[in-house]
Amino acid sequence: MFDSPAKLALGLLTGILFGFLLQKGRAAKFHVIVGQFLLRDWTVVKIMATAVIVGAVGVYALAATGLASLHVKPALWGGVLLGALCFGAGIALFGYCPGTSVAACGEGRRDAMVGVFGMLIGASAYVALYPFLQPVIKRLGDAGKITLPDITQTSSWLWIGGLVIVGSAALWLLDRFEAQPSERGLAVSRYS
């Protein structure tokens, strides 16, 4: 029923840091998340891409030295595609992702609180429908717990090196050429 108290405390500490960072990154705000999907506010992409670049280097280094193991999720094509479809439509309507909706509740946002209750209902539906969902999830096959280096039969470090270089360059360009919020305000008043 419960993990050990030490593990629970560790989870709580990790979560507090995660929530603090999401709030400071302005990711717990409706207009920032929806603004990303309207391709107007690139905060979410900047946060996630930076986290992936920095995370990849450290996690692969930890795995290489045996200090951690990878936990890759299986490529169950039916599940990944159907899930991404529902998730994409749901996140745009809700205006928060699962982690940031919990952070938005911490910030006091009432619509996020209602949505988190909806999330519990969505999870309940998944559990209740589990037996009927299995054929759909497994429909297009299971390629297993594969990574990009696995399928291309190349070194992980080649991919990580590429990710660091290409990712950093793309982020720099994005930040350099993205319209600033003040300019956006000007554009609105000028054209509307």
Partner: protein
């Protein structure tokens, strides 16, 4: 120079890098990737176990999880979710960046100021999103950050498809005009 903890926002690159380092911490100390939605699945399963008699026998979900040694419980991930709430609460308290907003301005511009309408959309959107996350076995954290940084094929596929669907849905809901009201 004021205390950064009281600032309303930090650079997204700083926040992203710190979340990256936090993922090293999670892998190294708990042998876990950062993820949010498994805790919701476990909570839902525990509730069904409590209120539906014999569900552990009738629904193969429970046997499948037990076989993997992942029977639903109050675990590291559950506390992670609780922590996210507390962390965001503390951050917003320190920066006085708190709100009791029912209807976000962008929503109001497009759909009016009915609280019931906004709450209904939030409920449906939240339910659909979580259902999708469990079907795909991950969310913006589990696939988007933790899975992508492990270079998982499933996660990169999920992120690209999800992002495209979310962009299409956002433009259907708000139109091109909506982008000017962000």
């Amino acid at each position: 120079m004021s205390n950064p903890l009281t600032w309303k926002s930090w650079s997204p690159f700083l926040v992203g890098a710190a979340i990256g380092v936090l993922s090293w911490f999670a892998f190294a100390t708990a042998d876990k990737p950062l993820g949010i939605t498994t805790a919701f699945e476990n909570t839902a399963a525990l509730i069904q176990k409590a209120v539906v008699p014999g569900v552990e026998q009738s629904n193969e979900f429970f046997a499948a999880k037990a076989e993997k040694g992942q029977s639903p419980k109050i675990d590291w991930e559950w506390m992670l979710v609780l922590g996210v709430f507390i962390g965001a609460f503390l951050s917003s308290l320190l920066s006085k960046d708190r709100t009791r907003e029912n209807v976000p301005p962008l929503w109001r511009w497009r759909f009016g100021d009915s609280t019931a309408k906004r709450f209904a959309a939030a409920f449906l959107g939240g339910a659909l999103m979580m259902f999708g996350a469990r079907v795909a076995q991950g969310c913006t954290s589990g696939h988007g950050i933790s899975g992508a940084l492990q270079l998982a094929v499933s996660s990169w596929t999920f992120v690209l498809v999800m992002f495209a669907v979310a962009v299409a849905t956002a433009f259907l809901l708000y139109g091109r005009e909506g982008a000017r009201h962000v």
